[in-house]
């Protein structure tokens, strides 16, 4: 159930779990658990009325994706973090400023609570991209 939404800057990057899961294999539950999440501070979670582990919808102008909310007390207000991987990249545009490098580090998003909503598996996400959805 939605409890409103917040606008934040989301950045992406490496995590130890993402690295370990990537080495184990991308088509594993470990990988999905490591990358299909959005870390946010306690203020953001309170504003959304959600708890650790609830599903949230992260939305940009390009699309939206469901991921699991994770409390990270060290994140400043107005900032969220999604580990690098397909869930973050689904929201990312391809503009590279003519360098080859997309803007992985600062994406303006809207986060909405969606407690209980399903998170797509890595395979389902691949299929979705294959179908151009």
């Amino acid at each position: 159930m939605s409890s409103g939404s917040v606008k934040v800057i989301v950045t992406s990057g490496r995590t130890l779990n993402q690295g370990r899961a990537m080495e184990k294999g991308k088509i594993t539950q470990d990988y999905e658990d490591a990358v299909a999440l959005c870390e946010m501070g306690s203020t953001t979670m309170e504003a959304l009325g959600i708890e650790n582990g609830d599903t949230v919808i992260v939305k940009t102008g390009l699309g939206k994706i469901n991921v699991k909310a994770k409390l990270n007390k060290n994140l400043p207000e107005g900032m969220a973090f999604i580990p690098c991987g397909p869930y973050f990249n689904y929201l990312l545009d391809s503009y590279t400023q003519c360098t080859g490098m997309p803007g992985f580090k600062s994406l303006e998003v809207t986060i909405t609570a969606a407690r209980g909503a399903k998170i797509q598996t890595v395979e389902e996400l691949t299929q979705k991209m294959k179908e151009g959805i």
């Binding site: 690295g19 397909p86 990312l92 360098t99 080859g100 992985f104 580090k105 299929q127 151009g132």
Partner: protein, 431 residues
């Protein structure tokens, strides 16, 4: 002698650009059972090397022989008008060389994963030069180490404990004699490992670096803060950097992927150049994939350019933004793709993946990945540094020999041999 029974010593870890070369691997029959000295990710890489493995070549999801898979791959390549060859940073140098050969004979574009990690680092260095150092030199001499936009605790877990928090020839006590600072837009796990954390506002790296340059040159600035840091603190930082005996700036994707891209790196290099008027400083990119540094080097040796190379005119041309994989795919330009030891479907923006999904893809990788879910042809490969030998380049440019510790699964061969089979077959087809 490094092998005693089933224990292999001084093994190089092929996960990140640290290429830690003190790993001890124990093998029991056909399994790796223990990794000593490796980080958590290294342990997963070695002990879990058989998990999620692709063991059988497939064409359109149907199991085929290796020869049949090569035959279909060659058909796709030969009929392609604009082939994109991509990946190469998680494989060894010989495989990279074969990929450039394939690009040359087919008039293709060849790009490596540098374009989405430290490509801007190379652009910055092409503009401003490079002041670098060996990791051993850093350990022996550096009294001030700064990480900027990097999270080594997650991405290079042994960088600090293995290379930096170690005593050296002139740094007897690494906790007392060496300061480690971190500059980032958020607190990360690395924050707990350093002596000082400087939080800057997102997308202000360029301003902060340029401010430090101005302060180091003695300019008085009429501002109270830059990037969220008080100007007094920046003045103190500038003085500390000037008075260090030997400083090193390690930087990560927080600098290359954020607003400013190569201009951030250009500024960082010039900051180091400025500091060298006063003392000794170097800088080094925190290279991610274990041989992405090697991909740049082998590409430069062979083609003259480090990445984003087009052979369409029969000779190599370099143009980031044009021949880089994300830009090419987002423009809908390639009509086929050969992907080697990378996973663009997991790591590229959606529009690039959408085009990738619409063209025939040949995917060479030891494991199932997201690209293998879309690829028409999947060919399993041996893992370099575990199941076959090779050479790779550490983040500081040091080449290291990768040893084989266990046989690959039956019928699975190294990337270089797969590419050689393709080239041999292509040379017949293209005569």
């Amino acid at each position: 002698m490094t092998e005693v029974g089933n224990t292999f010593k001084d093994i190089v870890c092929t996960f990140c650009g640290c290429l830690c070369d003190d790993i001890i691997i124990e093998v029991d029959g056909e399994k790796i059972v223990k990794n000593t000295n490796g980080c958590a990710i290294s342990k997963e890489r070695f002990v879990g090397h058989m998990e999620n493995r692709c063991l059988q070549p497939t064409v359109k999801g149907n199991p085929v022989t290796l020869e049949k898979a090569i035959q279909r791959a060659v058909e796709i390549i030969a009929s392609s008008k604009r082939l994109l060859i991509y990946g190469l940073s998680s494989t060894e140098n010989d495989a990279q060389r074969e990929a450039y050969r394939l690009a040359e004979i087919t008039g293709s574009v060849v790009d490596n994963t540098t374009s989405v990690c430290h490509g801007p680092t190379i652009l910055g260095a092409q503009e401003s030069g490079e002041t670098t150092a060996a990791l051993a030199e850093v350990r022996h001499r550096a009294d001030l180490v700064i990480y900027w936009g990097a999270n080594p605790a997650a991405a290079h877990p042994r960088h600090i404990p293995h290379y930096i928090r170690q005593p050296g020839e002139y740094i007897k006590d690494p906790k007392k004699d060496r300061q480690i600072w971190l500059v980032d837009v958020r607190e990360t796990t690395t924050t707990r490992m350093v002596d000082r954390f400087l939080k800057i506002n997102p997308a202000t790296d360029l301003e902060v670096i340029q401010t430090l340059r101005a302060l180091i040159r003695g300019t008085k600035l009429d501002v109270t803060e830059v990037g969220g840091i008080d100007i007094k603190e920046l003045e103190e930082i500038a003085t500390a950097m000037k008075t260090a005996k030997y400083g090193v700036l390690f930087f990560g994707l927080g600098l290359t992927q954020s607003w400013g891209r190569h201009r951030n790196i250009d500024a960082a290099i010039r900051l180091i150049q400025d500091l060298n008027a006063h003392t000794k400083w170097g800088l080094m990119p925190m290279r991610g994939h274990y041989n992405v540094s090697g991909a740049n080097k082998t590409s430069t040796w062979v083609t003259g350019y480090p990445y984003a190379i087009d052979f369409a005119r029969g000779y190599p041309r370099f143009s980031p933004g044009e021949y880089t994989a994300v830009d090419m795919l987002a423009r809908g330009e390639p009509d086929a793709m050969l992907n080697i030891a990378a996973d663009p479907v997991a790591h590229f923006p959606r529009a690039a993946v959408a085009h990738l999904a619409s063209i025939p893809v040949i995917n060479i990788d030891p494991k199932f990945n997201m690209t293998s879910q879309l690829a028409e042809v999947n060919i399993p490969a041996a893992i370099a540094g575990i199941e076959c030998d090779g050479a790779a380049t550490r983040m500081d440019g040091l080449p290291l020999y990768l040893k084989k510790v266990i046989d690959p699964p039956d019928g699975v061969i190294p990337d270089r041999d797969i590419l050689r089979m393709m080239i041999k077959s292509l040379e017949k087809v293209m005569k």
